[in-house]
């Protein structure tokens, strides 16, 4: 073992160093300014390193640095970076009507540690690293969900997420023990060989059953999604953003890591299972989202429906599915953060609810347009980002002949259009109160334009999708 062999691990090691540095700075300065700047500069550097750095692959026994894992890591890094920026006003006195968050240093440190877990998850080459990554990617969020000081809802969100997370971790671990018993090995290559050799082993199926159960909880896939609305509503908005984008991406990545490579051989047999979960998630998410008044609950249900669409990709063939998943997560992330940006702006004075959006078209027309773009993208209206994402998912499933399922998914997408329009209706048609006009700072206006353009470009221009497909495919 020479030092040169460890250079592909550089992003992971740098992330660890960054997390430790942010926590260390937290011990010196209480105001958290230095921690914030270190975090975002570090994350931006990491993103550049992942995007343009070394392309060499490295396969240790239990840690695989591949092109696909780099794409996932880039996705996690960008989602965390966006969360860090989003959280900024929530730590300022008067930045949010719900109350000011404290302890920004630990907050950023926990986000980075969480990201370390996600990194391990997508690089996992055996089930132990997989499990530890999953656990590390979940555990900091237990604390983050309860971050709103002296807030009963936030405390409830934290305790609910702990219970659900602990239960799902136990299920996952139980499943892993079955897989180990069935195959006699923890490594993915040996696992793959064993699955090929004896695909009908009941112990193997017991393991897969429990694993799917555990991951289903993390993914908030119906019928295991009950925790999501309460946790999303109770958690502070930046944490909800992290949960719904980065953490969701990590859960999807976990599913893809296991079922698109070592357990690929059993995926055709699992198709009815994934199909049922997909339909249930779409229906439960869409029905739930219609009745919501609170924007955070609304996001929760809408993300359950999005998980349903993403599960369609598990029915397609390997490489196309992975590309569709990554692209869909990117578009969902951009759309999501655009919505959370609007929530952050209206949350400065009022509650982050539907009624808080009232009269947005008069208070700030630009924000209202961004909201419309967001909702259209979530509904999958061309030519926005969400459309291309959905199209890739649907075509991945259709390519394998699941036409009925794709039909159901399209019908659900049409239904979802109804409640996404309800949000737009609040902003444009509902009678405005006496709320004053919103003034954005120049930086915020730049973010607004950037997000709006990204929503359009990701939908119209196929180049990013192509690049992701190429990078994530091999």
């Amino acid at each position: 073992m020479t030092l040169a062999e460890f250079t592909p691990l550089l992003p992971d090691l740098l992330l660890l160093a960054l997390a430790l540095a942010v926590l260390k700075i937290d011990l010196w300065s209480e105001d958290g300014e230095a921690g914030f700047h270190l975090t975002w500069i570090g994350l931006a550097g990491l993103a550049l390193l992942l995007a343009f750095g070394s392309r060499s692959d490295a396969v240790f026994a239990d840690y695989h640095i591949t092109a696909a894992s780099r794409v996932w890591k880039l996705l996690f890094t960008l989602a965390t970076l966006a969360t860090v920026f989003l959280s900024r006003p929530y730590f300022r006195a008067g930045g949010n009507a719900r109350g000011t968050l404290a302890k920004s240093g630990a907050f950023f440190g926990l986000l980075l540690l969480c990201m370390q877990g996600m990194f391990a998850l997508v690089s996992a080459g055996n089930l132990i690293v997989f499990y530890l990554g999953l656990e590390l990617a979940t555990m900091p969020i237990y604390a983050l969900a309860a971050y709103q000081p002296r807030d009963a809802d936030s405390a409830e969100a934290g305790s609910k997420y702990v219970l659900m997370g602990g239960f799902s971790s136990a299920l996952t671990l139980f499943g892993i023990s079955f897989l180990y018993g069935a195959t006699g090995s923890l490594g993915f290559p040996a696992l793959e060989a064993a699955v090929r050799a004896a695909p009908a082993d009941p112990a193997l199926w017991g393991g897969i059953f429990f694993l799917l159960g555990g991951l289903g909880f993390k993914l908030a896939m119906a019928p295991l999604h009950m925790w999501a609305p309460d946790v999303y509503q109770g958690a502070p908005t930046p944490v909800m953003a992290f949960l719904s984008v980065a953490s969701k991406a990590a859960a999807v990545a976990a599913l893809a890591t296991l079922f698109l490579s070592p357990l690929n051989a059993v995926r055709p047999d699992l198709a009815p299972c994934f199909a049922a979960a997909a339909v249930l998630s779409m229906v439960a998410g869409n029905l739930g989202a219609m009745r919501q008044k609170d924007l955070r609950r609304f996001v929760a249900y809408s993300s359950v429906a999005q998980v349903g669409y993403m599960l369609l990709a598990m029915l397609g063939e390997g490489d196309g599915s992975r590309a569709a998943l990554v692209y869909n997560l990117v578009t969902y992330g951009v759309t999501g953060f655009a919505l959370y940006f609007i929530m952050g702006v209206i949350g400065k004075e009022g509650p982050e609810t539907m009624s808080g959006l009232r009269g947005l078209s008069r208070r700030h027309p630009g924000l209202a347009v961004l909201l419309v773009l967001c909702m259209f993208s979530l509904a999958g209206v061309p030519p926005l980002a969400g459309f291309l994402g959905k199209f890739m998912l649907f075509s991945a499933a259709a390519a394998e002949g699941h036409y009925l399922l794709v039909g159901i998914a399209v019908a659900n997408a049409v239904v979802s259009f109804y409640y996404y329009m309800l949000v737009v209706k609040e902003a444009y048609i509902a009678p405005p109160g006496e709320a004053a006009a919103i003034r954005l700072r120049p930086l915020q206006i730049m973010v607004l334009w950037g997000l709006g353009l990204a929503l359009l470009v990701l939908g119209v221009c196929p180049a990013p999708a192509d690049w992701l497909a190429r990078a994530a495919g091999n």
Binding site: M1, L20, L23, K24, L27, A61
Partner: protein
């Protein structure tokens, strides 16, 4: 295996010894249970105030957590420290590790957890009010 059997025998003898002492004192001692304060719980001669079942302070909890973190660390250090001296030689998978490399691995593990302790200390978790 034998050493564990010895431990098991010791545990058994210990339980029997304590149990036998209790049984004998129960059989041999005269009993007049209803006289005076005999049924009160023993509090070093003082009268007991209130119930023993009170709500504990939340502060115990963080102490217990810090303890648990280092407990888990110790569990993993046991097997590693046992082979540290011989780790330079060939391992199970046949790879040869330099002693320096092994030390670096161990140092990283301990350093991260030492940082955790330092963090807890600086955040005044170790202070008792």
């Amino acid at each position: 295996m034998t050493e564990y059997i010895i431990i098991g025998v010791f545990a058994l003898v210990g339980i029997l010894f304590a149990g036998a002492a209790m049984v004998f004192s129960r059989l041999a001692a005269p009993r007049f249970p209803d006289v005076g304060k005999k049924l009160n719980s023993y509090e070093s001669g003082e009268d007991a105030i209130g119930s023993a079942r009170i709500q504990f302070k939340i502060g115990y909890y963080l102490f217990a957590l810090v303890f648990l973190v280092f407990d888990v660390e110790a569990v993993f250090l046991f097997p590693v420290l046992g082979v540290l001296r011989s780790a330079g030689s060939a391992t199970a998978s046949g790879s040869i590790l330099s002693p320096l490399f092994v030390w670096c691995e161990l140092l990283l593990f301990i350093a991260i957890l030492a940082f955790a302790l330092f963090y807890a200390w600086k955040k005044k978790v170790l202070e008792w009010e």
